[in-house]
């Protein structure tokens, strides 16, 4: 086997340009394949890490997003008195009544985009312990002060700590920047719930209620208690994490659909490319194949040699593609989330599954593209092969 494999390597050298082009082609395909998967994975990662699995979010039934949901004051009081809500050390239920609005902010390169502004109730730190102030300080609930998510600060103008933005005719001071480790909350601006209700003329109605359960396993019991209260029949509870995951439906469907489509098309193209290269590699080497057969190499060895050649080409391309795609992880992109109608920042995220999937995909292209030509090489009759010009 040593000789044929040596032969394969020598061949790469003697047909540099053609082999190079095939490798580049496969690398491009794998790059795009991985990039699209990383994008869809990035959206999912961002939204899965948004919210906790032991928090419950309550919105109006049929509301397409938080901004189109309205929960009046009396309902808020009913929810507050439900069982299975965790208590803070000083005995108050851990619950946040949140008015949510969207405002327009200017992007540095021109154009405006929508940003979610969320009012949070005192004690929200116990509800969302993952939110940490990384610059400046926490807002003062008695003042018109805001804190901005980390991703907002990168995406928009005039949202640095110390500057102020105009919301509802008033200047609001930005006093701090918070991070939630890359979750969707990083694309939001937070302030005190009462201050924001006042500013937006919301009286005492809010958009959603988020509360912490005594334990994750109490969700079904909580839901039962919730549903058995007829005054709450217009509203529905959902695990916070699941709620945000559902919020990305449109965006994920679009990216995944595009991903599958682009991949199918690209792989057909790349397989054809590999096939062309392999067929001509074999056509050019008919005499050589005949010589090897005459020297006593079996048909199987010939088949394997050419398959190896094609697999090596594909695998090299695949590795280059993955290597290039891994640099995408340093990019964060931000786009409109169609469900919540506001900006969502996310990064390309690589997972082991994507690495193996992409490499497997490259190998598959090599196998498909190399198989038919290899079979043809193996089936050549010695006499005919030697006689070829």
């Amino acid at each position: 086997m040593k000789l044929p494999i040596n032969y394969t390597f020598k061949n790469f050298k003697s047909r540099k340009l053609t082999t190079g082009i095939t490798i580049v082609g496969i690398a491009l395909v794998v790059f795009v394949f991985a990039a699209v998967l990383m994008m869809a994975h990035g959206v999912a990662v961002t939204l899965v890490s948004t919210g906790s699995s032991d928090n419950v979010k309550i919105v109006r039934k049929g509301a397409n997003g938080e901004i189109s949901s309205i929960i009046p004051g009396d309902v808020q009081n009913i929810v507050r008195s439900l069982p299975y809500i965790a208590k803070s050390p000083d005995g108050n239920p851990i619950i946040s009544f949140e008015p949510v609005v969207i405002i327009n902010l200017e992007k540095p390169n021109g154009g405006v985009s929508n940003v979610t502004v969320r009012g949070v109730s005192p004690g929200f730190q116990l509800l969302r312990p993952e939110a940490k102030i990384i610059k400046g300080r926490m807002f003062n609930p008695a003042l018109r002060e805001l804190i901005v998510g980390k991703a907002i600060n990168n995406e928009f103008k005039s949202t640095h700590v110390g500057s102020s933005i105009k919301v509802a005719g008033n200047e609001w001071k930005i006093v701090g920047e918070f991070s939630t480790n890359g979750s969707g909350f990083d694309s939001e601006i937070w302030g005190d719930a009462h201050q924001l209700q006042d500013a937006f003329n919301r009286a005492n109605s809010v958009s959603s209620i988020t509360l912490k359960l005594t334990s994750k396993s109490d969700y079904n019991k909580f839901k039962k208690a919730f549903n058995s209260d007829l005054r709450l029949k217009e509203y529905e509870p959902e695990i916070e994490q699941q709620y945000y995951l559902d919020q990305s439906d449109y965006l994920r469907t679009l990216i995944e659909l595009l991903g599958i489509f682009v991949t199918v098309i690209f792989s057909i193209g790349a397989t054809i490319g590999a096939m062309i290269t392999m067929y001509s590699a074999i056509a050019n080497r008919t005499v050589e194949i005949g010589t090897m057969r005459a020297l006593g190499f079996s048909r199987r060895s010939i088949l394997i040699v050419f398959l190896i050649e094609s697999l090596l080409t594909a695998l090299t391309g695949g590795l280059i593609g993955i290597f290039l795609a891994s640099f995408l992880q340093f990019f964060t992109i931000s786009t409109l989330n169609f469900n919540s109608f506001s900006e969502l920042a996310f990064s390309f995220a690589l997972s082991p599954w994507i690495v193996f999937g992409s490499l497997g995909f490259a190998v598959l292209m090599g196998l498909l593209g190399g198989f038919l030509p290899s079979v043809r090489a193996a089936r050549l009759k010695i006499v005919n092969a030697l006689r070829a010009e």
């Binding site: 340009l17 053609t18 082009i21 095939t22 580049v24 082609g25 491009l28 790059f31 990039a35 994008m39 109006r60 049929g62 397409n64 901004i67 189109s68 309205i70 609005v101 969207i102 405002i103 327009n104 992007k107 021109g110 154009g111 405006v112 985009s113 929508n114 105009k166 919301v167 509802a168 005719g169 003329n201 009286a203 217009e234 439906d249 449109y250 469907t253 679009l254 990216i255 659909l257 595009l258 489509f261 682009v262 098309i265 690209f266 057909i268 193209g269 054809i272 490319g273 096939m275 062309i276 290269t277 067929y279 001509s280 056509a283 050019n284 992109i333 931000s334 786009t335 409109l336 900006e343």
Partner: protein
């Protein structure tokens, strides 16, 4: 002219390779076409907007309402022909997945400001007469099999509760780019119920739309309108409809950019497939080209020979791809979430771009082989062994 015959013969000397290459090009042209269609579909809202309409909304965000009283004030601004207003109704039709825009509009003026939503006179009169009447777009009517006179029930979210409407007309889009999926109901019908159930939200208007006399004055008129409400708690932002739609698209710019990039990567991949084929063909024919040179064929002939073959294969693949683009785009459109793009079709610009890409690829793929063939000395060429 013999050279042309040689181009054809050469192109199909390796039938398998030629057909594989043509297939590869066709597949890539389809991919290119679909991605470009997604990009143009995104921009459809801009194409459908007009420069002689202005949109006035609350300056902080369009989710905040404006008072109804602004209407008369805006009408007084010189240059404003007609003012209409609308609210985003939202809500759910049977299932959350059934998305199409639902707007509560001023029945008297809305269709005058939007002449591209074509309804008959009778439909318009019927719509005005009944307070719970609504008008839907022909696309939506087709998709959900709705007819004039039938009832349609929405589950409100922004406007809570069950809402029943009777379809009094189906509008037809005037242009290809016109969105034919919307639903319009009476703003006053919604407002009456709001007055009783949520008096705080009575007389709220989502946004105003003004048709103006002369698009060239749009800047001055916008400024004049915004100045009226500058110091009120509800200050406004007025811009042309085109600018308004562009603002929406800016929010999705990341996705659009990545699709643009991808479509050009595809062009690169087609180029690689074709270049590979061309390089291999001319490598095999090194000896033949040397013979041709010996016979006295000039550099022009050889260039024509190789370029012709490259263009011919690119052309065949391109034609095949363009033909298949249409059914595949419509298949792709059917798999998108309902109502995601109001208009999803292959635009002329997509076809032009594809054709242009094919020409460029045909030219570029021939470059290396031509370069090499012309440089090879006759003796070396004759001596060449594959």
């Amino acid at each position: 002219m013999k050279v042309i015959k040689l181009v054809f013969k050469n192109s199909f000397r390796h039938k398998l390779r030629a057909s594989l290459t043509i297939m590869g090009i066709a597949v890539a042209v389809i991919a290119f076409g679909v991605l470009r269609t997604v990009v143009t579909a995104w921009y459809q809202a801009v194409d459908a907007s007009s420069n002689d309409r202005l949109v006035t909304r609350q300056s902080v965000s369009f989710i905040f309402p404006l008072p109804l009283s602004y209407r008369d004030k805006i009408l007084q601004v010189p240059g404003v022909k007609q003012v209409t207003y609308a609210n985003w109704f939202g809500g759910t039709y049977i299932d959350k997945k059934n998305f199409f825009a639902r707007l509560a509009v001023d029945a008297d003026t809305y269709f005058k400001v939007y002449p591209e939503y074509e309804i008959t006179k009778k439909e318009f009169e019927d719509f005005k007469k009944e307070r719970d009447a609504c008008i839907i777009g022909s696309e939506t009517a087709k998709q959900y099999n709705l007819k004039v006179g039938e009832a349609i029930t929405l589950d409100g979210d922004i406007y809570p509760g069950k809402w029943d409407f009777i379809i009094s007309g189906i509008y037809k889009p005037k242009y290809q780019s016109t969105d034919a999926t919307q639903m319009f109901m009476h703003w006053s019908y919604i407002n009456e119920r709001m007055k009783q159930e949520m008096p705080l939200r009575a007389n709220d208007v989502g946004w105003y739309v003004e048709s103006i006399n002369n698009p060239q004055n749009s800047g001055a008129i916008s400024k004049a309108i915004d100045k009226l409400f500058e110091n009120s708690p509800n200050s406004t932002k007025t811009e042309t409809e085109v600018e308004f739609s562009q603002g929406f698209i800016a929010s999705s710019s990341a996705i659009i950019t990545s699709m643009n990039v991808m479509s050009f990567v595809i062009v690169g991949i087609i180029l690689l497939v074709l270049a590979n084929t061309m390089i291999m063909s001319s490598r095999e024919r090194t000896t033949e080209y040397a013979v041709l040179k010996t016979l006295g064929f000039s550099a022009y002939h050889l260039t024509f020979l190789i370029l012709g073959e490259s263009m011919f294969i690119a052309f065949l693949g391109g034609i095949l791809g363009l033909f298949l683009t249409f059914p595949i785009v419509s298949g792709f459109g059917n798999h998108l979430p309902k109502g995601f793009f109001p208009v999803f079709q292959v635009e002329p610009i997509t076809i032009i771009l594809s054709a242009l890409a094919i020409v460029v690829i045909g030219l570029a793929a021939a470059y290396f082989p031509i370069h090499k063939t012309l440089r090879t000395k006759i003796v070396d060429g004759l001596r060449f062994v594959g």
